[in-house]
Amino acid sequence: MSHHKLEARNLYFSYPDGREAVKGVSFTVYHGESVGLIGANGAGKSTLLMLLVGLLFPEQGEVLVGDVRLTKKTLPAIRQRLGFVFQNPDDQLFMPTVYDDVAFGPRNFGLDEDEVKLRVQRALEMVGIPHLHDRAPFRLSGGEKRVAAIASVLSMQPDMLIMDEPTSALDPRSRRRVISLLKRFDHTKIIATHDLDMVLETCRRVIVLNEGQIAADGMAEEILTDKGLLESCGLEMPLSLQNCPVCGASKGIF
């Protein structure tokens, strides 16, 4: 299924103030893969995600979704296939009710209202909040907002989910819910985050960004246990893999 492929070819991007955020990044994500995109603050994760969904355009290089090159012209068709979940759900939820928010995408794609209703119900059930459909988004709790934001993307039935920090600012239970949700999706996923324990659970492949360049790209178990690599990129090993803080005993998971 080559049309679910996402390819970045030698991407370069710098901001108007001259800061080079992405410097020659190339990778390919295949159908069904889940990829953790990790890196320190300012490593270029968010910029890279914005390049992938066409919110920014690279100065050099190209993004291919399926076999279609991402340009201003192909953007509408491509965006329908990419679901982008923002870091701050408040940026994504702006309609009077959760229902309207989840229906926003499908309605924009001109679906008739019965189909929209079906999709909204399905998306809300998928994330487990059908009871919140009539609530105002800005009165939800942080965890509820997050899953509502995910539902608002799922209702477009994208081939690929791209998420910016899906577990940031969540309490442990809400975080757990989002993680088990992510594990259940069989979409192709790209998750940018600092939450390395979450990456360990949800992603098989990890791409490490450091100062706008790819420092490593490989299996999660290998990269997340490579203490030297992680520390040189401003990260540290997932807490669940670190030695016991009380007795110092190694866990030896892998």
Binding site: P76, R79, Q92, P96, A103, F104, R139
Partner: protein, 269 residues
Amino acid sequence: MSNILNSLYNMGLLDDLARKKTFIHRIHPAIKLLTTIVYIIALTSFEKHEVSAVLPFVFYPVFIFSFAEIPVIPVLKRVLLVEPLIIGIGILNPLFDNYSVVLGDIAISRGWLTFLSILIKCSLAVTAGILLVATTGMDRLAFALRVLKIPRVFVLQLLLTYRYIWLLIEEALRMIQAYSMRAPGRKGIRISDLGSFLGQMLLRALDRAQRIYQAMNLRGFTGEYNAGKAPKIRFRDLVYLMAWSLFFVIARTYNIAVLIGVLFTGVGR
């Protein structure tokens, strides 16, 4: 600060009310909009010193309040917010227009009458506007405007302004909180800090707006706001419009208050 928090919470009140399902709520939004427009036109077309003939127009908001199950106090509080403005417009009338009129046994300046007339008319018009939003909801109202062929740029402007208000308040609230935590014992924001405070707020609001716009774009937004199923105008919607318009025209043409008075006392003017 709790005031700001409260108003933030209350912002959603009209939206909540609009979600009720009384028969008033079910009337086609365009019909309700037209009824409100007819009401306001009839109301404002009265002579400037008319008071008694305006009184029957109270019936319309009372009708909506009771049948749409809208709580009176919160709505009146919102009307109260505009009241200083209305008073500002009318307050000089008693000073400039001191031609005296005799009401029963009392002679008063005609300025007071015109002032009272302005006060009543404006308050009723504002109440009708708020009730329209409270029984229709901003998104359906936007739909009604589109039905009436208002250009979508204006409708979108209205809608997004309404949506962004609480974001702006939230942002301001966070900034004020952060400021007051580091400026203990001071009320408000020092004028010398106000420049950068407001500038910051503008920049943050722009950033926020940009991100929301991006989120909308990613979900296929192309400039047309789709509020869902388009209801059809049914026969009973037209009856509603006709009945009210008829009432407004009659109330505008005949002084119902005086007619009722004559009916009960048998004394003409």
